[in-house]
């Protein structure tokens, strides 16, 4: 019984092939699983273990270290509010209180309509645009309570709120689990050749013989 859809299984194998050692693909594959299901399930970990020559316990062990991986369902839209120093100085605590009141759930819980989960975040690297929150890792700068309310209205109506977010990032708002909306694709004809470290113990050609 495989967890990945046949399309995603192909993508998974492609990702594994980019690394000299297959275990390196573990985190990218956990992301792929989360993209497919919204969170990390047991069957997902079992198949990732097969693909990366590890055990499902090792997959769990690695996965639980990283806070972006969810081992329980979360809402379609994960709201993260930065409350670290730069944001706190400019009103993040009030914003967090507002978000709690509007969504009417505790941190980590899912709203009744299944749409939202919020978390307090550590620095999200937008400190000069404080206070800041992200939805599925898309930025909303210099946030006010009103901005948050507008974003929620858009998402409930099935519309993308990104036009209200960072001016650089437009388009559709992906569901939780999808980070980059595009994937790197290395054309086979252009690939220099990825080898296991034990198979390439001599210096590369241009070092030995010049270009």
């Amino acid at each position: 019984m495989s967890f990945f859809t046949s399309e995603n299984e192909e993508i998974a194998k492609e990702i594994v092939s980019r690394y000299p050692v297959s275990r390196s693909a573990l985190i990218p594959l956990l992301h792929l699983a989360q993209e497919q299901e919204g969170w990390i399930t047991k069957p997902a970990m079992e198949q990732i273990a097969e693909l990366t020559n590890t055990t499902s316990v090792e997959v769990l062990g690695t996965g639980t270290f990283y806070e972006m991986f969810k081992f329980h369902p979360v809402g379609s839209y994960l709201v993260k509010v930065c409350t670290n120093i730069s944001c706190q100085l400019l009103g993040a605590d009030e914003l967090l209180e507002h978000i709690k009141t509007v969504l009417d759930v505790e941190e980590g819980e899912i709203t009744e309509d299944g749409l939202f989960t919020f978390e307090e975040a550590e620095c999200v690297a937008a400190c000069t645009e404080a206070p800041c929150f992200t939805v599925n890792y898309r930025y909303f700068h210099r946030a006010t309570k009103e901005l948050f309310d507008e974003v929620i209205v858009d998402l409930k109506a099935g519309e993308s709120p990104l036009s209200k977010g960072a001016a650089d990032d437009q388009g559709a708002m992906p569901k939780h689990g999808t980070l980059s909306r595009v994937r790197q694709q290395i054309p086979k004809s252009r690939c220099a050749g990825i080898k296991h470290p034990d198979e390439s113990k001599s210096p590369p050609k241009w070092i030995k013989e010049g270009v």
């Binding site: 980019r18 275990r23 573990l26 990366t52 270290f65 620095c123 690297a125 700068h141 650089d168 909306r181």
Partner: protein
Amino acid sequence: MKESSLQDGYIEHAPGFVQNKGPKLVTSRFEHKDSFTLEKYLSTGGYKGLQSSLGRSPSQVHDEVREATLLGRGGAGFPAGIKWGFPPEGVWPRYLVVNGDESEIGTYKDRLLMERDPHQLIEGVLIACYALGLSQAFLYVRGEMALAQERIAIALDEAYKAGYIGKNILGSEFSVDVVMHWGAGAYIVGEETALIESLEGKRGMPRLKPPYFPAAIGLYGKPTIVNNVETLSNLPWILNNGASEYRKFGSEASPGTRMFAISGHVNRPGVYEVEHGVTTFRELFYGDNFCRGIRDDNELKMFIPGGGSAPWFFQEQLDLPLEASDVGAAGSMLGSGAIVVMDETTDAVKACLSVVRFFARESCGKCSPCREGTTWEEKILQRILNGDGRPSDIDLLLDVGDNISPGPYPVAAFSDEGLDAVPFPPRQTTICPLGPSSVAPIVSAIRRFRHEFDSLITKSDPIPLTLSVEEVVT
């Protein structure tokens, strides 16, 4: 944000970045809306540094970088050219890992460089790989930076198709694969050995140095160069213009420019490209070319000069230049180029807790002094703020800190008592500097604003420490 609401200097398509007067070595393309495309990159001199590198021998390229004295921009400030010389002779393959796991409090220059000019970074990666004979490069982007991942993925695809990456680059023997890798939310992975663990598919916990210096025993046990995004983004400029031109900017000890993110209570917060060693903090906070003063004309209370790990600075350090050695001698560091400015309305205890809580949450748990210590620091600070503080808590905080970082802690706060500051960095009982970093805000805040702690504790009504036997049994 609407255009009309933008202050001058800001660019709508690059939120946070402020264009000011001064040399632009790494942010020259930020003004273009499509700066991240291959087309724009090529029309603005892109990939010429790579071409010029391929016309020289790898060791000549290495020499150029060494002569430029390109200092690492990740925090430690170690010269890249020297770091590049560390791999032991005759051991192959060697790898490049690009550290784009930017998560330090207040820091965000790498995110902008990855989002706005991914090709510049890729060209830097290629130059490094050519000079050092590296057979594969991994671009480790912080998990939360979805847009940066998109821009890099597209740029890599474009560069592969155009023949800049992959087999026989630009018709030469130089061949290298560049793979984008991405994390999943862990600050500690910014530490280079933890980054390598994470890239090997493991929990991101730092390795012990020695023996695990990445340049000797790194990824898959092979020599590995770990360079920061901003460091590598400087390479195309250096190879295009030469080391001697590069050294004309900045100071003798730290040539070139640096990106600083100035956040907090200033009138024009933003990410600025600033010449090393020339500008002072005062100019940066109050100058018309930079942040244009503190909000509401308030007094400056304190500022963090180099990320959450850095001891705080105060009014008397305002005239220090942005130069690593001066800042180090004054008892702090420029670190990751993150400056957080706090005005007189700031609650020092609360600010301290905010920074300490970050380290407590991000401790990986490998070393006991950090795992237990940072958590206790957070708990004690929280109870002081909650009005449950005890008179012994200040000493307890310092004692816990002393267990993570023994001996006198280097802080600029000492200088108001006429004591010489102890130069950075501090000592540590841990494998990596995360734990000791949590001590910086505590010692800074207690040394300078002890009265704020005292007044909270005096008003406190703490829960009694002792329980009767009956209470414990039931």
